[in-house]
Amino acid sequence: MRDDPAPRDIDGNPVRVGLPMAMLAELTHRCPLACPYCSNPVELTRASAELKAAEWAEVFRQAAGLGVLQVHLSGGEPASRRDLAEIAASARDAGLYVNLITSGIGLTEARLRELDGVVDHIQLSLQGIDAEMADWISGYGGSFARKMQVAQWSRAIGFPMTLNAVVHRQNLDRLPEMIDLAEELGCRRIEVATVQFHGWADLNRRPLMPTQAQATRAREVVDEARRRLQGRMVIDYVPADHLAAFPKSCMGGWGSTGLNVAPDGTVLPCHAAQTIKGLAFENVREVPLARIWHDGAAFNAFRGTGWMPEPCASCERREIDFGGCRCQAMALAGDARATDPVCSRSGLHARLRAAAEAEAASDSTVLVYRRMTREKRG
């Protein structure tokens, strides 16, 4: 109800609205890679529906006016857009801190030089520690060699870099080498993120689910490396969430600090929010960003704590982790209000954990790669 002055959650409870800090701008869903854990929705947006560069420039101006400080240019592969440099420059001109999240594929030395002085920081994805692993996981022959070349060019130009290693059962044993590689490439940070089993990754639970032993070992590796590399390289680690006692605070709380703009201009509280049935999402082509953020029913739906059922409603952690991930609750419990089943206090937790253990014990190496359905002709 747009005319109602007080924003309300999905159950009609009044909510307080803050200001967003960060925006994920998915410039395109096109990507040369086919990673089986891609965070894009299973139904991908076609190139013809993508926002134009001038539309992105307007989105960035609105975002900065709304309070956004950092924009993450992502995809798909943002370099798949020929007008990436123009788009990035418009984000910087709007006053935003510009982070480029890329696989490196499609970037040349000349294209990187165009981004010099525009992009503040580059986040380079890593699928594996060598060509054999990385090219298999990404489904793209030669990707590893090209990525390493992009890393060298970026370093020579002087871009600060974070290596973003996505880990799972097939590559987690090689974590020490990933950390060494980040150091060799001169990275200031490495993010080690265990696959989130949503969307495409949900189709690949059996080949990708890490074992408990791997997760335990990874924690030890990270702790040791943090001590050894203190003051030289920062290590951010996102463990497998079903192995933790409590869920992660997804997005720092729904609609609290971040928003996501999909390639066609649809504005989402998180990249997977469209999996929650019954929520309607607005588009920046039609509605101003500030209005979507402040008044949009989808953004207000799970703000605050009023919508929570038990055990979340009376939990002392309700404003620490906000009951975990709404999309995961939807996927696993069939109800977006439910306690995220990765929480040890969820009635579904034991079943989830048993399923994950069974998946981790699988010897499957058959990957379902991300792919775009063909556009209809005529």
Partner: protein, 102 residues
């Protein structure tokens, strides 16, 4: 956090990819860094504003003492603690490190 003191002769600076920003929407000063936004109090902002990649830590502390009419021991303690933390987070570099001043 490392216990090492930063040498007074060292030249601290904000490396490329780390910058001060005046957040007019919220009316605060922030430090922008990869995947991080840090809200600065007036002391933190005053310290970082002095890092020009040319003057040594000792010179920076001297400038702050004069400007805020505060005893060097107190300023030195604040600055050491604040910069050490940011160095551990790779948001402040010392001269001679790769990365170059922004």
């Amino acid at each position: 956090m490392s216990a090492d003191r930063i040498s007074g002769a060292a030249v601290p600076y904000l490396p490329r990819g780390v910058r001060l920003h005046d957040d007019r929407v919220r009316g605060i000063r922030v430090l922008l860094a990869p995947e991080r936004v840090i809200q600065l109090d007036p002391v933190g902002h005053a310290i970082l504003s002095e890092l020009d990649g040319k003057r040594s830590l000792a010179e920076v502390i001297e400038t702050l003492c004069t400007r805020y009419d505060a005893p060097p021991e107190q300023i030195e303690g604040d600055v050491q603690e604040f910069l050490r933390d940011l160095m551990d987070r790779r948001m402040v570099f010392l001269d001679g490190e790769a990365g170059g001043p922004a």
